[in-house]
Symmetry: none
Subunit: 417 residues, 2 copies
């Protein structure tokens, strides 16, 4: 192949099927409404019975809705790739999760509702146990309960470093959040967790000259913390991971020219929604609370993201029956959600969390899009992995969900003359 | 996430959904085994009976395996694009064939087991017939048999050019391999074949200043060859195509953190496997020989590529019945391959070679992936074009096959927090 043809191919490969710049160009205001229900960890796998959680669950409302919707399976990140919660949600919000990444420190900050500023550096901290030589003997300090780690966090929060404010917040068990706030901090930093026991925690190193000063601040913090914790057992040391800034993200509200709201009981999902420019609505701890919040704000927004957590938690626990129960629970709310008469009502998952995997997995996730106008006929047999695989949408990247919704909501103009 | 990781992600986003850099980041060692059987030219098309080679063949073992596997159709390069053997295999090995290209000269060198060095320039040569004015009257010199072209190659191998060693090897019929070996050679060169009769062969031209010297060497070779061949009939001239170096390729073994082995009776496929960093195992000329080699080395590797050639050869010959027979032949080995109990056993084709096309074609290729754990149920009706199109994997890029296998083999970690 001649060189010039080859480089044309490489350039062409740099483009994505649908991306935010294209949406920004084509989006137009309208008075239509889009409702996106995310069932966290929705997808599953068959257990010994040969049928998956969705296939075994009595989800008659979802099954009925699927028969009158466009169905398919979404790939959150890429074929074979298991996503964390961040990439899984960003993709459903239209953001290529390989292009837009959220560091672990930032996710922890979002998860405890910490008001992270654009110049802050957040790190995920782990209490650990070291021996007399300073070698790690337990990377999680025996998973000490929050009741034990919270007072330690309070002690650490009193540490002073020159040129930055220090914030330390307990997260859960041995995990905590560390934030440094100051001028000109850089997150081009390495982690201190050596990832295995028998080794000493590593120093924070700068990956670029502009991060040297910030690395010194973190190392100063760690040195003082080590002194402070030396007599504690089992949490006599700490490690830092995922040192990161709030990543710059374009706003979904601005790109799509709509008012977007997020309703989620769990802080991390609220934080992710805030990162992409959604208004986060105050809500309660249960799904009925979220539903009430949705109804209350229905007239004030064009796009709603509403989050249901329990399916993921059950899958993570490896509890097949609890996952079925969670799916049956959310199913009982489908008619109420549908009754709001959104122009586009979508049911999606950020990733699969099959009970037999006991964690997130790479498997494509069932998806349905119910549109009031201009939807291709589908007539899926139901809402599960097999039926959706045969749906009219096929298996497609999750980051295309947003443009699909925008089109069916009459919010995209024609491309080209 | 630190900026450098972010910019790495941005770079990564310029590639295709799954790419080797992402695999490199996510791959982890495991003790699982992956077996990839490539049936060369697997896909076909219906003849006048309305059914394809796979649909007509008695392939009960493949059909049964498909019912218990993930099925789909792979697109080797891009929709509508017919691949050569190089791109077809590179895609199955996880390499984007639009990004990683193997020049024709290099493929010819691999095909005759020539030990190509990284600095060598290889070219595909064709003997041709020119008239008294030097215009080409037959681009293939009447397809002279190898018995006639081999002595000519021996003559040409005696040519000396200043600053490089000359190697000339017969390939088949009117085709031969020319290799120049020397210091600082460049392959940014044009071809001499004008691609039509009635025109004179073109000079080799440099596409960049650093290739000027190499162009002169090739032109010097051609001038001497012309003198040497002038009284020969019909092969009184030659043309050169695909002047290329051994392309730099990352190693699949290093990217995937596994030990990879290739078992193929034909040199070109061994050469392709060697290019991507697989160990090439010594084997015999038949598939039973290859199977014996596989068994012998089973414990020593994590990933095996095993190649079956006859289906492609039958398709190229336009022999529908011979293609059916080839498919039925490989079917008889499926149970033995399956009995090795690979954690992931895949049956794929590098491209379609429908007998009615008498050559490679662009049609998506049947694919199955049998995984011992965490496979979504599929229950395909059989292993053929129509049944696989309805499979749970849908129609997808062949370069995603590797990540799919890696995921099911428990060899990929989670992406993002």
């Amino acid at each position: 192949m001649p060189i010039d043809t080859l480089s044309a191919c490489v350039d062409r490969a740099t483009l994505r099927p649908v991306n935010l710049e294209l949406l920004r160009e084509l989006s137009v205001p309208n008075d239509t409404k889009i409702l996106l229900l995310v069932i966290d960890g929705l997808g599953g796998l068959p257990n010994e019975s040969g049928r998956s959680e969705l296939e075994q669950a009595d989800i008659q409302h979802l099954d009925r809705l699927a028969q009158d919707s466009l169905c398919g399976l979404t790939i959150p990140v890429a074929c074979g790739v298991t996503p964390g919660s961040g990439p899984g949600h960003l993709a459903l919000f239209g953001y290529d999760p390989l292009r837009y990444t959220v560091g672990r420190g930032v996710l922890e900050a979002l998860g405890v509702d910490f008001d992270l500023q654009p110049s802050d550096i957040a790190a995920r901290g782990n209490f650990c146990t070291v021996d007399a030589d300073g070698r790690i003997v337990d990377r999680r300090a025996g998973r000490i309960p929050t009741a034990q780690s919270a007072p330690l966090c309070e002690k650490l929060a009193s540490i002073k470093v020159q040129g930055a404010q220090v914030f330390v917040e307990p997260v859960r068990d041995h995990r905590f959040l560390l934030v440094l706030r100051g001028e000109g901090l850089s997150d081009r930093l390495t982690e201190t967790d050596p990832q295995r026991e028998g080794q000493k925690p590593l120093p924070v190193r700068a990956l670029a000259p502009e991060a040297e000063a910030t690395a010194r601040l973190f190392n100063d913090f760690v040195a003082q913390a080590q002194q402070m914790l030396r007599d504690d057992r089992p949490a006599n040391m700490l490690t830092l991971r995922g040192l990161a800034k709030h990543p710059p993200m374009p706003s979904i509200a601005e790109i799509c020219k709509f008012r977007a709201a997020a309703i989620a009981a769990y802080p991390m999902y609220r934080g992710l929604a805030k990162l992409v420019g959604m208004d986060v609505l105050k809500t309660g701890a249960t799904f009925p609370d979220e539903l009430e919040t949705l109804r209350k704000h229905w007239d004030r927004y064009d796009f709603f993201f509403i989050h249901f957590k329990r399916a993921d938690a059950a899958g993570e626990d490896g509890d097949f029956q609890a996952k079925i129960a969670a799916l049956e629970e959310i199913d009982t709310f489908i008619d109420e959600l549908h009754a709001l008469q959104a122009d586009v009502f979508m049911v999606a998952g950020d990733h699969s969390t099959p009970a037999i995997v006991r964690g997130h997995s790479w498997h494509p996730v069932p998806f349905l899009c119910h549109a009031r106008a201009f939807a291709q006929a589908d007539h899926s047999e139901g809402f599960n992995e097999k039926a959706c695989a045969r749906g009219i949408l096929g298996t497609f990247p999750a980051r295309e969900v947003l443009s699909l919704a925008m089109a069916h909501a009459g919010r995209l103009t024609k491309y080209g003359a």
